[in-house]
């Protein structure tokens, strides 16, 4: 899937860029001397202001609901969404739907990760093959894979498999492209160093190429973690027997605004958790990046 192609300056820069925090004077027109706040102050002031912004936002939202500036049918006040979240979580159907969507996402994601990384390694090992196949990779990366949803449903049925299929398709290409890219960008001199040590291909791969490519691979894995959930949800939108996406559509058409928003928050939380897990693993595995 394209869109969020993780290579390109985008993530490339986030690989190197994240660590070296913005150098002083990078903000156009800023003065080297005026870092805005004293670092000590910054540690306290910024989180507090950040939280303040959130609280102000929630208060303004509540107030405009109370003053009937926003119809509760469109956007219920935060408090009712919060209560509804508790109700939704306790509802008998919730666990089943959560498990369905989570399973689709995780299975599709893991399959995509394993296959894509394996294929990436194969393709960058056999350069000839890579050259022949790469145009297709590029094309499929750019094509919106959600368009494959109906086809996948025809193939795999309305159940969980078609959603796994879509989660797989949508997250596959980012990981593949990033793996190939990462393996491609191993510094030439490092390779020469390994050759000079008479390292075997296997040693070169394990000691150099793999670790060198990992930051790219994980950049892809992070992006596709979000994409896999999107795949599962879109699949459920079209047809399904279970899942949070299906429930969301149902509630929407029943005009249950409270439940819709409660579900949106919960789906968002699921997305955050999935991404968070991958980010955590990333930080553990590629510890040398920071």
């Amino acid at each position: 899937m394209a869109g969020v192609s993780a290579v390109d300056p985008t993530v490339e820069s986030s690989i190197e860029g994240q660590a070296n925090a913005r150098a002083p004077g990078t903000v156009p027109g800023s003065n080297d001397d005026k870092p805005g706040l004293d670092p000590l102050q910054r540690r306290w002031v910024e989180p507090i202001v950040s939280l303040g912004v959130l609280i102000t936002f929630l208060l303004a939202w509540t107030l405009s609901s109370q003053l009937r500036l926003i119809s509760p049918l469109v956007l219920p006040p935060p408090a009712s969404i919060a209560t509804e979240i508790m109700d939704v979580v306790r509802a008998p159907w919730f666990l089943g739907d959560l498990v369905a969507t989570t399973t689709e996402t995780i299975v599709g994601y893991l399959l995509a990760a394993v296959v894509a990384i394996f294929l990436g390694v194969v393709l960058s090992t056999f350069r000839r093959l890579r050259r022949i196949v790469y145009p297709y990779v590029v094309v499929f990366q750019v094509i919106p894979s959600v368009a494959l949803a109906p086809v996948l449903i025809i193939w795999l049925g309305p159940g969980i498999s078609s959603k796994i299929g879509l989660a797989f398709t949508i997250s596959f290409f980012v990981v593949l492209v990033n793996t190939i890219e990462g393996l491609e960008r191993v510094p030439a001199n490092s390779l020469r160093l390994m050759t000079s040590l008479a390292a075997s291909r296997r040693q070169t791969f394990l000691m150099l190429s793999l670790p060198a490519a990992l930051p790219y691979v994980f950049a892809g894995l992070r992006t596709s973690a979000t994409l896999a959930l999107i795949g599962a949800l879109v699949g459920e939108f079209i047809t399904s027997t279970a899942g949070l996406g299906r429930r969301l559509v149902e509630f929407s058409f029943a005009m249950k605004a409270d439940s819709v928003w409660a579900l949106l928050v919960l789906i968002g939380a699921l997305g955050m958790v999935l991404y968070g897990i991958v980010a955590l693993i990333d930080r553990r595995v590629v510890w040398w990046r920071a």
Binding site: N31, D32, D33, P35, D38, P39, L40, R43
Partner: protein, 278 residues
């Protein structure tokens, strides 16, 4: 790569550049300058330099030498008005420095050429920023480029240049609007020894003819001695002036100057000051 027509060319480069200001502007007084950077994570803040004083007469060539981290760049940025000292002040031609001014040009270790401008357009950057008439400076820019051995490259883009050519372009850029003071922060530090030496010689010729005030930062002692009237030797923790060393080498200097006794004596004196001799 680097132009081989170096010596003859720069002779006339000097003439071309001489044309304008010969008034004795460009005197710098650094008066008790200190600079404290607040450190990250709330630990103790860093005293970059403490109570640094020196002065540079108009038309003088002065180098700042010292180990890395001793505050050379910080001093240069303070003179440029790019950073405000925490204590003391910098005075240029009688006026305290509070902000960057047009009469002071700065050159960095990285050429900082803009990839979307060709060589000529890069040289004309100050003209554009100052809102001056490009046409009026076109000939001067071309002349500078020609004499820097880049005449054939005015339409080339920075991506196509070697490191030495990039720094020559940066040198033309800093000279194009005729500043009275040129501040250089390890301008040739990233270049190989051969290119560096050739550019140093060219720099001296230009300076000989124009007598702009130059403050030149380097950690190469030989380079500092060869180029300068005075070398200000700095030490670390905190950054401070160890000694203001006069260089008793006659001008104009050539490669031969580096064979002379005063050159070596000064060089070793500075090495001693920096504790490099043992």
């Amino acid at each position: 790569m680097v132009a081989s027509n170096g010596s003859m060319a720069t002779q006339s480069m000097a003439h071309a550049v001489k044309a304008s200001s010969s008034s004795a502007l460009g005197a710098i007084q650094v008066e008790g300058v200190g600079k404290v950077y607040p450190s990250r994570r709330g630990a103790a803040s860093i005293v970059a330099v403490k109570d640094v004083s020196f002065s540079v007469a108009a038309g003088e060539f002065v180098s700042l030498v010292g180990p890395s981290g001793c505050g050379k760049s910080t001093m240069l940025m303070a003179i440029a008005g790019l950073t405000q000292p925490s204590g003391g002040r910098v005075v240029i031609d009688g006026q305290p420095v509070t902000a960057p001014r047009r009469s002071v040009g700065v050159m960095f270790q990285t050429p900082e050429l803009f990839r979307w401008r060709n060589v000529l357009e890069n040289v004309l950057l100050p003209v554009d920023v100052f809102g001056l008439n490009r046409a009026a400076y076109l000939e001067r820019a071309r002349e500078l480029l020609r004499l820097a051995g880049l005449g054939a490259f005015e339409h080339a883009y920075p991506q196509e240049l070697s490191g030495g050519m990039e720094q020559r372009t940066a040198l033309c850029r800093v000279l194009v609007a005729d500043p009275s003071i040129v501040l250089m922060d390890e301008p040739f530090g990233a270049l190989d020894e051969f290119t560096r030496e050739r550019l140093n010689i060219e720099l001296l010729r230009i300076w000989d003819a124009t007598r702009k005030t130059v403050v030149f930062v380097t950690h190469n002692i030989g380079e500092a001695v060869f180029l300068s009237d005075r070398v200000i030797v700095m030490g670390t923790q905190p950054g401070r002036v160890l000694e203001d060393v006069q260089v008793p080498l006659p001008r104009p200097r050539t490669v031969e100057s580096m064979r002379e006794r005063p050159y070596h004596e000064t060089l070793y004196h500075i090495r001693d000051l920096l504790g490099l001799s043992h």
